[in-house]
C-alpha cells in the first residue's frame, strides 16, 4: 500500500514537473507582450520592466531561476498583471473560497447524481430511467452561463434573503453551488447507472437473487460498492476541478474565487500567475487522483493485488 502511494506521488511530481516545463516555454511563445498597456511603452521602460521580472535573462536561466525560487524559497513570484501582489497570496486568498463553494457543490452533486443513477439502473428502460437520463443529459448540456442567470432571476429576485450575486452573506453560496453541481451530478448519474447495470447483470447478483436476498440488500450490500467504481474514478479529477473554481460561475455570481485567474492569467499574459496555477492545480490533481485510486482499492478487492 505504502509502495503504491509513494510511487503515485513520484509520478505526480514527474507530471507536474513536465507540465510546468511545458507551460513555461509555451506561454512565452504567445504573441503580444505581457507589459502592453493602453500607452505604448518606451523601449527603455519595456527593458526596465523585463529586467524587473527577470525576463531579460536567457530562457534557460529564467527557467532555472523559476525552480530555484519555487523550491528553495517557496516563492511563486510576483504577478505581472496584478502589480505588487504575489501569486502565492492570490492563490491563498482565493482558494479557500473556491474550496468552500466546490465542496458544497460536490456534496450536492453526489446526493443528486448517485441516487438518480441507481434509480435509472433499477428501472432500466422504463419511464423512470428515461426521465432520469433526460435530466442528466440536460445537466450536461445546459451550461452554467445559462443556468446561473435563470436561477438568479427565478430565486434571488423573489426571495428577499437571497442575493443575485456577491460574497458577503452566508446564503451567497447557495445559488452558485447549485449552478455548479448540475454538470457533475449529470455525469455521476450516467456513470452510476452504467456501473450499476453492469454489476446487476453479474452472476453473483443472480445467485443472490436466487437465494432470496431482498432487493434493498442486494443493492446496498452487494451491488453499490462495485457499481460506483466508474463514478469514483471520475470524482478524482472532478474534485480537483470543482474546488479550484469556475471562471463563468465566479463571473456571474461575483465570487472572489480562484477560477477567474486561470482565464485572466492567460488573457493578461501573466506568466508567473499561470505557472503558479498550473503548479498548484497539477499537485492538487495528483493528490485527488491518488485519493480516488485509494478509494477504488478499498472498494474493489480485485484491484488490491494489481
Amino acid at each position: 500500500m505504502l509502495r503504491i502511494i509513494f510511487s503515485r506521488l513520484l509520478q505526480t511530481l514527474v507530471v507536474v514537473f513536465l507540465l510546468v516545463t511545458f507551460t513555461f516555454f509555451a506561454i512565452r511563445m504567445m504573441p503580444g507582450n505581457p507589459f502592453a498597456d493602453v500607452k505604448a511603452l518606451t523601449e527603455e521602460n519595456k527593458a526596465a520592466m523585463e529586467r524587473l521580472y527577470g525576463l531579460d535573462k536567457p530562457l534557460h536561466i529564467q527557467y532555472a531561476n523559476y525552480w530555484k525560487n519555487v523550491l528553495l524559497e517557496g516563492d511563486f513570484g510576483d504577478s505581472f498583471s496584478m502589480k505588487g501582489r504575489k501569486v502565492s497570496t492570490l492563490i491563498s486568498e482565493s482558494f479557500p473560497i473556491s474550496l468552500k463553494l466546490g465542496l458544497l457543490s460536490l456534496f450536492l452533486a453526489m446526493s443528486l447524481g448517485i441516487p438518480l443513477g441507481i434509480i435509472a439502473a433499477l428501472f432500466h428502460n422504463k419511464w423512470q430511467d428515461y426521465t432520469a437520463m433526460i435530466i442528466a443529459m440536460a445537466g450536461i448540456c445546459i451550461v452554467t452561463f445559462v443556468l446561473g442567470p435563470i436561477f438568479q432571476l427565478s430565486f434571488a429576485k423573489p426571495l428577499s434573503w437571497l442575493n443575485v450575486a456577491g460574497w458577503s452573506r452566508p446564503s451567497d453560496v447557495i445559488l452558485p453551488a447549485i449552478t455548479l453541481c448540475f454538470g457533475v451530478a449529470a455525469y455521476l448519474a450516467r456513470l452510476t447507472r452504467g456501473g450499476m447495470l453492469d454489476i446487476l447483470s453479474q452472476d453473483y447478483i443472480r445467485s443472490a437473487k436466487a437465494k432470496g436476498v431482498s432487493q434493498l440488500n442486494i443493492i446496498t450490500k452487494h451491488a453499490l460498492r462495485p457499481a460506483l467504481v466508474p463514478a469514483v474514478t471520475f470524482l478524482g479529477p472532478a474534485f480537483a476541478a470543482i474546488i479550484t473554481g469556475s471562471f463563468v460561475v465566479e463571473s456571474i455570481f461575483l465570487i472572489p474565487g480562484m477560477g477567474q485567474y486561470f482565464v485572466l492569467g492567460i488573457q493578461n499574459q501573466d506568466y508567473t500567475l499561470v505557472l503558479g496555477l498550473v503548479l498548484f492545480y497539477g499537485i492538487l490533481m495528483g493528490i485527488a487522483n491518488l485519493m480516488s485510486d485509494l478509494a477504488l482499492i478499498f472498494m474493489d478487492p480485485k484491484l488490491r493485488n494489481s
Binding site: 503580444g32 511603452l41 518606451t42 520592466m49 496584478m82 505588487g84 458577503s168 461575483l254 472572489p256 488573457q267
Partner: protein
C-alpha cells in the same frame, strides 16, 4: 449520513432566518453608497494607475488643489487650496496657490506645499524603472518634460542663463534624436532602394555622397567606431545628443559634423555643449532635479507656486486630474524611496494615508474595496456619506440584475442589449449622458492602401455612423464628425459625415482600378462580443458602400495593443476618453511618436498649430487655432471618427447630487443618500 441531516436542517434554517432586508436597505441605514466599479483596481498609487475605475476610488481617497463642482462642468470649488485666493500672472504662466492650513492627511499630519513638490517630482522621475503611465500630464509644468525625459542639453545648457546661446536657438540642434531614421526600421533594405518619402527622412542629416548600410548598422551594436562616416551620421542622429553615451560623445567632440546642428551654432558653442554633457557623465550622472528647475516650488508650507511651459488658462481643469493630487511624502519615504514602484507597501490598507474626504477601510482582491469617512479631512462636516463600497463587477449583466435585486445604488454601465429593457423597466433610474470620449478607427498609414489619404477618407465616409449609434449601441451616442467631441467653447470643424456616393468616388480617384485589385485588409478589434458586433457592422458597411471585403481579426487585449505598437495591423477600432476639459486631451494624441498615436502619421503643420496654441493665452483665439489643428488632422485623416461616447448607467432615486458631468468625475464628498 444520519448525522448530517440535522446539520443541514440547521444551516438551512440559519439561511432563512438571517437578514431579510436587501443590501440597499442596510446600506441606506448605514449611510454607505454601493457602486459597481467594473473590475479589480490595478492599484491605488495615483502615479501608477491609468484607468477610469481606479480614478473612481482615488477621487474619494485623495484631493487635489481644487475639486470638481458637483453639477457644473469646467467649474471648481475649494480643495487643498482656497479657490478664491488662486492668483495667476496675466499670461496664465505663473500660478500661486494658498493651501488650507486645516488640510490634513488621514493620520493627522498636515498637507503642505512640500507634499505637492514631492509628488510632482515623484511622478516626473526620469528613471526608466519608474513605470508611471501619465507623467505627460505634468508636462504643463515648465521644464517638466525636460526633467522627465532627461533632456541633458536643455537642462545643462538651455536652463543656464549664462550659456552663450539661448535655448530657443540652441534647440535647433538634434538633441532628442530622430526615431524616423532608426536603423532598425530599415532592416534588410539598401539605402539605394529607398523611395522618395524615406529618403526625405534622411536628407537633413546626410550629404549627397553618403550611403549608409543598414545591415551593418543593425549588426554593429555598441561598437560604432568601425562604421563609415555615413553610418555614424545615421546612428548618432537617430540617437540624438542627449542620449549619446560617453564614448560616442568623445567621438563627436572630434567629429562635430556627425550630428545635425544648426547654422547659428558656432563651433565653440558646440564644443561647450558636448563638454557640459560629458562632465555630467564624468560626475556619475548626478540627479538633475535642482538643475532642471521644474516649475513647481513651495514658497512656504502653505504657498505653492507653479510656473508653466506656456499660457494655460485652463490649468484648474488639468489640475483636477488625479496625477496632480498630492501623495504623502512621509508615508512613501517610510516604505521605500521616492520612486519605489510596485514593491512599495505604502498603498496597502494598513499603511496608506490619504487627504481626501474618505480613507481606505478594507481591500480584498476581486471582492470588495471599502472606504470610510476621513475624520481628519478639512471639510469633514460637509461630507455626507459615511462610506463607499466598490464592487469589481466585470459581468455587466450580473451588475444590472444586482441593481434590480437592490444590491447596488449605482451601476458602472448598462450593456447595450439591455438598454431597451432598462428604458422600459427602469425609466426613472436609467441615465444616458454625454461623456467626453470618441470612438474611432486608427489606420496604419505606413502600408498600402492606407498610405493613401483618399482611401482613408473613402473608408471614413462609408461608415454609416448613425445606424451604428441607433441600431447597435442604442445608448444615445452621437455620430462623430471629428476627433474632438463638442463641449464648452470649442467649435469642432465637423468634417466627417456619412456620404456613400462621395466615398465611392474617392475610392475610384485613389487609383485602385477595381475593388478586386484592392489589397487584403484586416480590421483589428478586441475579443469582446460588443467589439465583434461593431466590427461586423463596419465590415458590412464597407462591403455595401465600397464593395470592399475586410476580414475581422479579434485578439486578446494585450495582443490587440501590441499589434498596434508594432504596426502589425491595417485598421483598428479604438477609443479615447478625455482626461480634462480641453481639446488638447484629444489632439495631443496625434503628435509624432506620441505613445497613443500608433498610426505613424505625423504632420508639422499640425504640431506647429498645437505649439502655437500652447503660447496663446486668449481663449477664443486659442480655440480657433485648435479647431484649425483638428481640421488638419481630419483633412489628412489618419483616424476615422465613428461616434462620441455617452455614459449609460442605473442610479437609485435616493442618491442625491449625482449630476451629469462631461468627464463623469463625480466628487464623492457631495454625494448624499436621502433616506426619505
Amino acid at each position: 449520513m444520519i448525522r448530517i441531516i440535522p446539520l443541514l436542517a440547521t444551516t438551512a434554517l440559519a439561511f432563512v432566518s438571517c437578514e431579510r432586508r436587501s443590501d440597499i436597505e442596510i446600506a441606506n441605514e448605514e449611510n454607505i453608497l454601493i457602486i459597481g466599479n467594473s473590475n479589480e483596481p490595478k492599484g491605488l498609487d495615483p502615479h501608477l494607475v491609468s484607468g477610469v475605475l481606479e480614478s473612481n476610488i482615488i477621487r474619494a481617497l485623495f484631493e487635489g488643489l481644487v475639486v470638481d463642482h458637483p453639477s457644473k462642468d469646467s467649474h471648481s470649488v475649494d480643495g487643498v487650496a482656497f479657490k478664491d485666493q488662486i492668483k495667476h500672472s496675466d499670461d496664465f504662466t505663473e500660478w500661486t496657490f494658498h493651501l488650507n492650513p486645516e488640510a490634513k492627511w488621514s493620520d493627522g499630519v498636515a498637507v503642505t506645499a512640500h507634499d505637492f513638490v514631492f509628488s510632482y517630482k515623484r511622478l516626473l522621475s526620469p528613471d526608466p524603472n519608474w513605470p508611471a503611465k501619465y507623467a505627460e500630464m505634468l508636462y504643463f509644468l515648465k521644464n517638466g518634460e525636460a526633467y522627465h525625459r532627461s533632456k541633458l542639453g536643455h537642462i545643462l545648457c538651455g536652463n543656464d542663463p549664462d550659456f552663450p546661446l539661448v535655448w530657443e536657438t540652441l534647440r535647433e540642434a538634434n538633441f532628442e534624436g530622430d526615431s524616423k531614421i532608426k536603423p532598425k526600421k530599415f532592416k534588410g533594405k539598401r539605402f539605394s532602394e529607398l523611395n522618395e518619402q524615406d529618403l526625405k527622412k534622411f536628407s537633413p542629416y546626410l550629404t549627397g555622397e553618403d550611403t549608409p548600410d543598414f545591415d551593418q548598422l543593425n549588426s554593429t551594436g555598441s561598437d560604432f567606431e568601425s562604421l563609415s562616416t555615413a553610418n555614424k551620421k545615421v546612428l548618432f542622429n537617430s540617437i540624438g545628443i542627449d542620449k549619446l553615451n560617453r564614448k560616442q560623445l568623445l567621438h563627436l567632440k572630434d567629429n562635430l559634423s556627425l550630428i545635425k546642428w544648426s547654422d547659428s551654432i558656432t563651433t565653440e558653442v558646440k564644443q561647450l555643449v558636448i563638454t557640459r554633457i560629458l562632465s555630467h557623465h564624468d560626475a556619475g550622472k548626478p540627479k538633475l532635479w535642482d538643475k532642471a528647475q521644474v516649475g513647481v516650488s513651495a514658497i512656504n508650507d502653505s504657498t505653492l507656486r507653479l510656473k508653466l511651459r506656456g499660457p494655460t488658462p485652463y490649468l484648474l481643469e488639468v489640475a483636477k486630474h488625479y496625477t496632480w493630487y498630492p501623495v504623502p511624502k512621509h508615508i512613501i519615504l517610510k516604505h521605500g524611496k521616492i520612486n519605489t514602484a510596485y514593491s512599495s507597501q505604502w498603498t496597502k490598507p494598513e499603511n496608506i494615508v490619504s487627504n481626501g474626504p474618505f480613507k481606505l477601510k478594507s481591500w480584498r482582491t476581486n471582492h470588495l474595496l471599502e472606504v470610510e469617512r476621513n475624520p481628519h479631512y478639512w471639510d469633514a462636516e460637509e461630507v455626507k456619506l459615511d462610506g463607499i463600497r466598490y464592487l469589481p463587477i466585470r459581468n455587466y449583466y450580473t451588475e444590472t440584475r444586482m441593481f434590480g435585486d437592490e444590491q447596488l445604488h449605482l451601476t458602472y454601465t448598462v450593456p447595450s442589449e439591455l438598454i431597451p429593457m432598462a428604458k422600459e423597466k427602469y425609466a426613472a433610474e436609467l441615465r444616458q449622458e454625454s461623456y467626453i470620449g470618441t470612438r474611432f478607427l486608427r489606420v496604419n498609414t505606413l502600408n498600402s492602401p492606407f498610405d493613401n489619404p483618399k482611401v482613408r477618407r473613402a473608408f471614413a465616409l462609408a461608415i454609416d455612423q448613425k445606424s451604428i449609434c441607433e441600431e447597435i449601441l442604442q445608448g444615445g451616442q452621437a455620430p462623430a464628425s471629428g476627433i474632438v467631441p463638442p463641449f464648452g467653447d470649442y467649435k469642432p470643424p465637423g468634417l466627417i459625415k456619412f456620404d456613400p456616393k462621395k466615398a465611392k468616388a474617392l475610392l475610384q480617384e485613389s487609383g485602385y482600378e477595381s475593388t478586386s485589385s484592392f489589397p487584403d485588409i484586416d480590421l483589428l478589434t478586441t475579443n469582446s462580443d460588443s467589439g465583434l458586433r461593431e466590427a461586423e457592422a463596419l465590415q458590412a458597411m464597407w462591403q455595401k458602400h465600397l464593395g470592399i471585403k475586410v476580414r475581422i481579426q479579434q485578439r486578446e487585449w494585450s495582443t490587440y495593443l501590441q499589434n498596434q505598437y508594432d504596426f502589425n495591423y491595417d485598421i483598428v477600432v479604438a477609443g479615447w476618453i478625455g482626461d480634462y476639459l480641453d481639446p488638447t486631451t484629444f489632439l495631443e494624441l496625434w503628435v509624432t511618436d506620441g505613445g497613443n498615436n500608433n498610426t505613424a502619421w505625423s504632420s508639422k503643420t499640425f504640431e506647429d498649430l498645437l505649439r502655437k496654441a500652447e503660447k496663446t493665452s486668449d481663449i477664443t483665439t486659442r480655440m480657433a487655432i485648435l479647431s484649425e489643428a483638428e481640421k488638419t488632422i481630419m483633412n489628412d485623416i489618419p483616424v476615422l471618427p465613428i461616434y462620441w461616447y455617452t455614459t449609460n448607467y442605473l442610479i437609485r432615486p435616493e442618491v442625491k447630487n449625482w449630476n451629469p458631468l462631461l468627464l463623469n468625475n463625480h466628487p464623492f464628498k457631495f454625494i448624499e443618500i436621502d433616506k426619505n
